[in-house]
């Protein structure tokens, strides 16, 4: 938005700023709420508000180019006969075929496999391209059960029971008619072109007691071979994590409000859930109180962008992280080379979030055959692998600086906060003090 027409003396309302005015006028024009993709765009306390305390006199650093720093993590050690070993603690979050093109899903699988980590299906089931190119594939078990079948369930390396996601905790999904092509319709048993609604809660169980039985069913069907994850959107995280452990989860995935979506009401994305930063300490506290920290692994997602974010999540107690939006950006989403194309659909590189419309110039969040061809799955896989390697190297750099030879040895004591809000949420001291808001010392 340009300020070229703003002259001295013209004062913009903080309450009714230009975005607010535009939204009121858009609502009046159309009579429907704004639907978009991406995650929360409002500024919330985040990992940028934390800093590492590198080693000095009181701590002993590791040599960055000589000494090992382990990044491998085993997920699902609680009950599964075949836990998953990932070589980097950065996984690819669940994103559906339907929301994404087949080429995009294949690229994610290729990239993840190249660095020894996992990728995840989404609403709509498992595609052969995705299974074929993913050495470690997590199969999401969602309320809609679109495309859900026991054959694919048994092909999975883990099962993720989705109770919610950070962009819309308490909400179901939607895939608008323009993306329901013949193939998507067939996989989801829906008429072509309808607006597909995904239920917000599972159809055959309610509450944690039922969930425990459901998890047992999934274990029975897969003969207790693979880990079972439970994914929740970050809200009442402390209680949700305790209930998930009680229900029998091997792994818990907590998705903060910055986590992305393919299509959700803007009011939902921006006004429901808590920041990822605030959710991690709640989850870790719950696990520690139950004596299950590191026994039930914790994966954190929602706004992970770089190796510093990865390392900070690990320091706060996560075992691994998952990336979604960042992976799409690595594939080419919002790339400046598509600027003229973004302008044609009323957007701009760096702002594009209308994933639901299926017109993505980068060929990622679309089912349009011509647009899809713009994304080469092999090149896309290489970009994802590159990006995952950078995240890993960056996280290792920070861990070594803190004297840790394993990413999971990072700890809250290695962190301080830049703001009072971040200190309170992350439960680490405000930089230069010993003060953690809400805690006496």
């Amino acid at each position: 938005m340009t300020d070229i027409n703003v002259k001295p003396g013209m004062r913009e309302s903080a309450t009714f700023d230009r975005n607010t005015i535009a939204e009121i006028q858009r609502a009046a024009d159309t009579g429907i709420y704004d639907i978009r993709g991406f995650g929360a765009k409002r500024k919330v306390p985040h990992f940028d508000d934390l800093l590492f305390l590198g080693a000095s006199m009181s701590r002993y650093p590791l040599e960055g180019y000589r000494e090992k720093c382990n990044t491998s993590v085993t997920l699902g050690t609680r009950f599964a006969k075949k836990p998953i070993v990932i070589e980097t603690p950065v996984t690819i979050a669940g994103m559906s075929f339907g929301a994404l093109s087949a080429n995009a899903k294949e690229a994610l699988g290729r990239g993840a496999s190249a660095v020894g980590t996992s990728t995840t299906t989404g609403d709509g089931g498992m595609t052969p391209e995705e299974r074929g190119q993913s050495s470690k594939l997590v199969y999401q078990y969602l309320p809609s059960r679109y495309g859900m079948n026991p054959d694919d369930l048994r092909k999975a390396d883990a099962i993720e029971v989705v109770l919610g996601q950070g962009a819309k905790p308490g909400g179901g999904g939607m895939l608008l008619g323009q993306k329901i092509t013949d193939r998507v319709a067939m996989m989801r048993t829906l008429p072509k072109g309808v607006d597909q609604r995904s239920a917000c809660r599972h159809p055959d169980w309610t509450g944690p007691d039922d969930l425990a039985i459901k998890i047992q069913e999934l274990r029975e069907i897969t003969d207790w071979q693979v880990p079972i994850y439970i994914k929740v959107g970050a809200t009442r995280t402390y209680y949700d994590v305790k209930l998930a452990v009680k229900a029998g989860a091997d792994v818990i995935v907590v998705d903060g409000m910055q986590g992305g979506t393919a299509a959700t009401q803007d009011v939902f994305i921006e006004h429901v859930g808590i920041p990822t930063l605030a959710a991690i300490p709640q989850a870790v506290q719950a696990l520690q109180e139950m004596g299950m920290h590191r026994k039930v692994q914790l994966i954190v997602s929602g706004g992970i962008r770089n190796g510093a974010d990865v390392a900070k999540c690990m320091a706060l107690g996560a075992d691994a992280v998952a990336i979604g939006t960042a992976a799409l950006i690595a594939l080419g989403c919002n790339h400046p080379k598509w600027q003229s194309e973004y302008e044609k659909i009323g957007s701009a590189a760096g702002f594009y979030d209308d994933y639901h419309e299926g017109k993505d110039p980068a060929g990622i969040s679309t089912q349009d055959p011509d647009l899809m061809q713009r994304l080469d799955p092999i090149e896309g896989g290489r970009r994802i692998a590159n990006y995952l390697r950078v995240l890993t190297l960056e996280a290792q750099t920070l861990a070594r600086a803190c004297g840790k030879n394993d990413l999971r040895h990072l700890e809250p004591e290695d962190l301080v906060a830049l703001t009072v809000e971040a200190a309170a949420m992350a439960r680490v001291p405000l930089a230069g003090t010993q003060w953690i808001p809400g805690q006496s010392f």
Partner: protein
């Protein structure tokens, strides 16, 4: 015939024995004694087996069934035959809520009544209920047939996609976008075939047909009150 008594063996033992039949069937006839309402009995089968369960079952009996034919000689708990792909399940007694939830194929016959949300999000299964069904049955039903020989509770077929619903008795209320439709010759034939397959003695002409008005398939602001 092989008999497994749940009093002496666990559900895990039972299911593993049944799953071991998937690659090669060495024993087609099975009998399960003393199920005693236990959960997840005979789920995930993937072979043309005949399994008689001699009593009541808990949650998710026959879940994700493929090819196998189950008979529950008692009542079934929540989610019987959930996500079934093929084969058949017959419940001699009543079934709790969410019977046949999200099931993609096969035949589910309930000789008694079914609770709430029978056939919720069904995706191709055929369900025949000799008695009544509870509220919100066939909610978001996508494909297949639901036949109710008794009455249906509130909000039948709410947010329906393409399931065909047939009810002989009273419907307390229809859900959003579910309407009564004309019963044509092909529908009478469909019903006749379903009764033949399920062994239920009913006259197709006594039933009414319900389906989606398809008004909510794509969002229109004029329909906002229905959401």
């Amino acid at each position: 015939m092989r008999t497994i008594d749940i009093t002496h063996q666990s559900v895990r033992d039972l299911n593993q024995a049944l799953h071991d039949q998937a690659p090669e069937c060495t024993e087609r006839e099975w009998k399960v004694l003393n199920p005693a309402g236990k959960h997840n009995i005979a789920c995930g089968l993937d072979q043309n087996l005949s399994v008689d369960i001699m009593g009541h079952t808990g949650y998710f009996c026959g879940g994700m069934n493929k090819k196998a034919h189950l008979v529950i000689h008692g009542n079934a708990g929540q989610g019987v035959g959930e996500n079934m792909m093929s084969g058949s399940i017959r419940v001699k007694g009543d079934a709790s809520q969410a019977a046949g939830a999200t099931a993609h194929g096969g035949l589910l016959v309930i000789e008694g009544n079914a609770g709430a949300r029978c056939g919720i999000s069904m995706k191709g299964v055929d369900i025949v209920v000799k008695g009544n069904v509870g509220h919100m049955s066939c909610f978001m039903g996508q494909a297949g047939h639901l036949v109710v020989c008794g009455d249906a509770g509130d909000a039948l077929g709410d947010s329906l996609y393409e399931v065909q619903i047939f009810v002989k008795g009273n419907v307390k209320s229809l859900g959003a976008d579910c309407v009564q439709k004309e019963m044509r010759a092909e529908h009478l034939q469909t019903l006749k075939d379903l009764f033949n397959r399920s062994g239920i003695d009913e006259e197709p002409e006594a039933f009414k047909r319900y389906g989606s008005a398809r008004n909510l398939y794509n969002f229109k602001v004029d329909n906002a009150s229905a959401y």
